[in-house]
């Protein structure tokens, strides 16, 4: 086949694919008869309301000397691990505010951290392209530092996000600037599966975030600089189960909805979106003008334990609390007394959903809980 014939075939193939994409868009548009907010209003639902002293900051965790980039709670107890620009991981008892471990990292450029399900290990990754595991029960070296118990090497770009597979201390998933996600066997240090990359279809730009479903730990979603989120089945690494379009900028953060059948995303385009895993539908867009000319980026999201509240951190320091069902902002933690003094870079709920932890570029972490009057139906 000549070069010109190859070029013609290529152009024709691209046109066919684009035409098919258009058909898919139109077909899907016909099924979008409403969104969640429209449906909920029709059903007569009212937004959640907060009194001025309902959600309060009840702890400030001070100790980092640089921006906080990432945090993660233990599944069972009150412990949090945080990662900072100061090149350290700190493990906190969130209830007492005490630090139980301060781990000086071999590579200071850390971007992400995670707690193992049993709470005995922590993982972190960053610009060194490696995911490092620390066993919290190991003896320290002569300088009082915990040494790395396992290094997961193989990524060809920075490690942007990591999460342990729920209920499995021996497996975790990372996302990377090399456009792939990897499922690791921590026991051997080897890659079990690589999702995307040079030889398989997947993200076409840096992957920034992963979230594993709690109800089906074989499913995870990833968010990328290619403006898409992708759903993966860990048994099938060759291609994503589904690709979710809609965002108009980097997808910085993804998080599964508590029921495991939906997931949320947050993007540089300033919006959060809720997608349905089974149908592929975009169920809701969460966007509100912040009053500035420049649209702030979404840095982090987390759902309350029922899914009714969506906490969203933005690059301008706001932290909106959205009523997920009505798509209305019901509170801004960024404008409250004792709010952070810089952008909130990470968010996470405690395992029982009773507390929200926010981490910020102001070097602090804060714990927020409901201190108002609770009425049980």
């Amino acid at each position: 086949m000549s070069v010109s014939e190859l070029k013609e075939r290529h152009v024709a193939a691209i046109e066919t694919v684009n035409s098919l994409r258009e058909q898919l868009k139109q077909k899907r548009r016909l099924l979008l008869d409403t969104d969640i907010a429209g449906y909920a209003r029709e059903q007569g639902r009212n937004p959640v309301s907060f009194g001025p002293t309902d959600l309060v900051c009840c702890r400030i965790l001070q100790g980092h000397t640089g921006k906080v980039y990432s945090l993660d709670w233990t599944p069972e107890k009150n412990k949090i691990v945080s990662a900072s620009q100061d090149g350290r991981l700190i493990v906190w008892n969130a209830l007492t505010s005490q630090k139980t471990h301060a781990i000086k990292l071999p590579c200071a450029w850390v971007m992400t951290c995670a707690f193992s399900p049993a709470g005995q290990s922590v993982a972190c990754g960053g610009l060194d392209s490696v995911c490092s595991i620390f066993n919290l029960n190991s003896p320290t070296d002569k300088d009082g530092n915990l040494t790395v118990s396992r290094m997961l090497s193989g990524h060809k770009g920075y490690v942007s996000s990591c999460q342990y597979v729920p209920d499995e201390d021996t497996h975790l998933i990372t996302s990377s600037g090399d456009k792939t996600c990897v499922l690791w066997d921590i026991t051997t240090g080897l890659r079990t599966s690589v999702f995307g990359g040079e030889f398989q279809s997947g993200h076409t730009a840096d992957v920034l975030s992963v979230s594993i479903s709690r109800s089906n730990s074989r499913m995870f979603v990833s968010g990328s600089c290619d403006s898409t989120a992708r759903l993966w089945d860990t048994r099938v690494a060759s291609r994503a189960v589904r690709t979710f379009h809609g965002h108009e900028g980097d997808v910085n953060t993804v998080k599964f909805f508590p029921d495991g059948n939906r997931f949320g995303t947050g993007s540089d385009d300033g919006t959060c979106r809720l997608f349905d895993v089974r149908t592929g539908h975009q169920l809701q867009v969460f966007y509100q003008q912040h009053g500035d000319d420049e649209i702030p980026h979404v840095t982090s999201i987390a759902f309350s334990i029922s899914g009714r509240l969506l906490f969203v951190g933005y690059s301008n320091g706001d932290c909106y609390v959205w009523d997920t069902l009505l798509a209305e902002v019901v509170l801004n933690l960024g404008s409250m007394h004792n709010s952070h003094e810089a952008r909130i870079s990470c968010l996470g709920l405690s395992a029982d959903g009773s507390a929200l932890c926010t981490g910020s570029w102001d070097t602090n972490l804060k714990i927020w809980a409901f201190g108002g009057h609770r009425k049980i139906i």
């Binding site: 070029k7 008869d33 900051c57 009840c58 209830l95 030889f199 149908t279 169920l283």
Partner: protein, 137 residues
Amino acid sequence: MAEKGVESETASLVDEQVSGGGASASAGADTRGKHRILAELKRVEQEMKFLESLTCCNVSEWTKSHSQSSGIYQVGMEELEELENTDNVSVVCEELLRGVENLPDPLISLTYGPANPLWDRWFERPKKSQGCMCRIL
């Protein structure tokens, strides 16, 4: 999948040009030596690079992209077929509403029970005050 597709398409493209250049090859067996074949392969690769510089396009990228397009097309057709049997958003919303509203949520003032007394531990005095660094605000 895509990798194999790229290899097979690129290989077949090279094979055609190699066999076209191998004048001494018989219709049946290829009697050229290994070094002769490698030299011809190198010549074809150089020709490809030269053509790419002329056309300002990347032939190998076309080949890879074409193969990926085929994969994307197949996935797209599967998705189009799947959409024929997919529920509207309103059906999904109904399921979502029922699920969310029936679950207890400690961060909401009006919520389904049962309530858990541990939800309020953040506002209780710590058991051991010695060495505690709590700052309840």
